[in-house]
Symmetry: D2
Subunit: 116 residues, 4 copies
């Protein structure tokens, strides 16, 4: 079937999730540095084409629990943030989230809105 603008919107949304995760996974993170990393992730990914809004909610308690006191930090990975992304492709808005699902950071397409 010929791709529609809604398919292109969800394709673009997927790109943002993959980019976000694989750019920043492995970044040293602590409860004290988490907020600055969240802001930088949001503004970095919002630079990408068709990206309207990125929201990164750091789970500070989970980060605190994961930090070995002898080491002082851990590495950013999917279990430490809830992410929501909104893409607008030619009036088609696609929205998705990344949330933990049974120990795995699941990226999920939530909905598509035709705002044209």
């Amino acid at each position: 079937m010929e791709p529609t603008d809604a398919h292109r919107a969800t394709f673009e949304l997927g790109i943002k999730f993959g980019a976000l995760y694989h750019q920043f996974a492995g970044t040293p993170i602590s409860p004290a540095s988490a907020a600055e990393l969240a802001s930088a992730i949001e503004s970095a990914i919002e630079n990408q084409p068709h990206c309207e809004e990125v929201s990164v909610g750091m789970k500070t308690e989970a980060i605190e629990t994961a930090v070995d006191p002898d080491v002082g930090y851990t590495e950013f990975t999917g279990e430490f943030a809830d992410v929501e992304i909104l893409v607008d492709y030619e009036g088609l808005e696609a929205r998705g989230v990344m949330e933990m699902d049974d120990g795995y950071p699941r990226m999920r397409l939530v909905g598509i809105d035709d705002t044209a």
Copy 2:
């Protein structure tokens, strides 16, 4: 509108492109090491859910041209590879490519096939 399996297929396809690019951009690369990096990228991304096939064609000549002889290598980025990815989500096959377009590595949804 309620997302269909075709929307989910293109969302999954986008994730693979974003992951591939942002995991491996910046990797030191030379004409001699390009083939091993291509193989590793293919088998790494094929691990991801619903990913059927990843094909990375390194542009060895472009890499060779970019390498400063005093340095001996350059960094992997979109201008050095053509990429094709095939995802299968519940019998819906989505296919995309990454190709240079006017100096920018454009990720493009090529088509969706209902193989069910």
Copy 3:
């Protein structure tokens, strides 16, 4: 020869430079998002063992020049920032910089101070 604390200090300093560069190379960046990325890089790498201070000076003009107006952003790489890092290993302070040198982002050991 048996490594001394000064050798260990410079080893640790090198780790921070390699980590900084290869974690963040490829991040989408624009003149508007550069400051938040700089802050996040500094606080992320300062989490690492023995790392006293990281200073990232974004070259906003170079970023602005590199941004294709049709695309709106570019990717973070060594040409867009001057970096200075200070490590303290058992009272041995090692300091280094990353600066462009003939088109290549050169990481350079600047000095070692025994503060014990």
Copy 4:
């Protein structure tokens, strides 16, 4: 104190460890794809200045244990590989390893040899 060639050798060695870890952490990995990733990491990092040899030994059993059968892969991180790197800076050879130490992937300077 003025840095010596031995200090520069250990600085360069550190760069390679930081680069290796933060370039490839987060890569999707499975027992089947681990060998190709190891080869690609070795040849990629050996491209870097003064880098003589990189050896990445994947811990296939640890990867197998970490893979959730419902997901089929995990992400590359320090617990899944032993790494050894040899740098030669002006006849000064610096050797280091990355090994797990109490749950943390410790990068350690092993020795310096003057081969000049």
